[in-house]
Symmetry: C2
């Protein structure tokens, strides 16, 4: 479902360029539960952002399904992201002026789901991540791990083809983290949702179909 | 060094109040390496923020050393925080327009350390957290775990009497996380710095002098 060929990403930094990704080749099949592991600063977030069409590579190609992403026009790209991708950001990226409920509902509004069904699905997923009693809280009225779970619920509510999850359990205690991993596994097994994680969490690696090690911008 | 008596904290939420801390009693002796553990949403950050004088309780008393904090005027409070406390925030809270170097240097400027000594101490602590080559990067040019380490370096550089660290290893791989814990242990043993952690990380709990469990705003 994702094919990455000789992917490179460099950032301009002062007068030089910093090479964050140095020729990555990766093929992810539909239905995989794949973990990208590697030290802090090794390039996990950079790679996830490019696969998720949130950033463009400096060189190399990405195919989502059969389509080369970098040759699609921005509107088509936005359509693919809206309909097919779910993204859990390392810093959650919740919209501050929307409640937990409204943040999770947002992808369903974009995909024109009717209001009755939207309400049911948002309540269901917030219950599954343990936040049934926090629906009307704004992000600044939630703990760090509660914000993270709202970000997870938002990524899963539309049952996308592919979920990219950047350190989704970093701020969760072991019991809550385990519940989130089980929820994602259930979606993977029952609905065939493909997951690509960036993670340091051994529990995700233990449940992964495959662990890909990345170090200094290259697959180790 | 910290005494908390019957501490309560409630937040106004809609027409009701949400009770985040429900009568906490805690005594922390000088030189402790103490871990506050508990589920996501249990009140760890709320308690750390009140001990760190960043927030005020609804009821109850806090003594820092022998001084009741809530009876001090804001200037005296700011003096105590500047000279005696180091804080690692769960969301890092780096100043976006300052480089990694400048963010870490800031507490030394507040404490009127001379420029030559400042430069030496900032370079030393950034080297110890593994970021010698990222000194001139701005926060948005750093990975999540790199930002977290700049926040740690900033809290430690002035060798405060008390460091409050909120999930300091959440975004770090096991090797880097271990190095950070060893660095903090060294400061604790050699310089007598007291540490209070909020954490889900079993490694910090394994090294703690004491693990205090918190659940639903109460010590379990
Ligand atoms: N401004 C606020 N208004 C209402 N409720 C709040 C507010 N801030 C925090 N809370 C609630 O207080 C409780 C404790 O929050 P706190 O951030 O202290 O938890 P925590 O133990 O640090 O959690 P985590 O491990 O997820 O970071 C949570 O249930 C949270 O929803
Ligand atoms: N805008 C930028 N300009 C310069 N360098 C950058 C920029 N963004 C990221 N980097 C660098 O690229 C490298 C990879 O960053 P990335 O965020 O992908 O790492 P990561 O594996 O997700 O790390 P972590 O586990 O700490 O989140 C890091 O060394 C970082 O400093
Ligand atoms: Mg990252
Ligand atoms: Mg917290």
């Amino acid at each position: 479902v994702v094919t990455v060929s000789d992917l490179k990403k460099s950032y301009p930094l002062g007068e030089v360029n910093f090479q964050a990704l140095n020729g990555i080749d990766l093929e992810v099949a539909a239905g995989e539960f794949l973990a990208l592991a590697g030290p802090s600063g090794s390039g996990k977030t950079t790679l996830l952002n490019i696969i998720g069409c949130l950033d463009s590579p400096t060189e190399g190609e990405i195919l989502l399904g059969k389509e080369p992403v970098n040759r699609l026009n921005p509107d088509k790209l936005a359509d693919i992201r809206k309909a097919k991708l779910g993204f859990v950001f390392q810093s959650y990226n919740l919209i501050p002026v929307l409640t937990a409920f409204e943040n999770v509902e947002y992808p369903l509004i974009l995909n024109k789901v009717n209001p009755v069904e939207r309400r049911e699905r948002v309540q269901q997923i917030l219950k599954e991540v343990g936040l049934a009693d926090k629906m009307n809280n704004f992000p600044n009225q939630l703990s760090g791990g509660q914000q993270q779970r709202v970000s997870i619920a938002r990524a899963l509510v539309n049952q996308p083809m592919l979920v990219l999850a950047d350190e989704p359990t970093a701020n969760l205690d072991s019991h809550t983290g385990q519940e989130i991993i089980s929820l994602m596994q259930q979606l993977n097994r029952e609905k065939g949702v493909t997951f690509i994680f960036a993670t340091h969490d051994q529990r995700i690696m233990d449940h992964a179909s495959r662990v890909v090690q990345i170090r200094d911008g290259q697959i180790a």
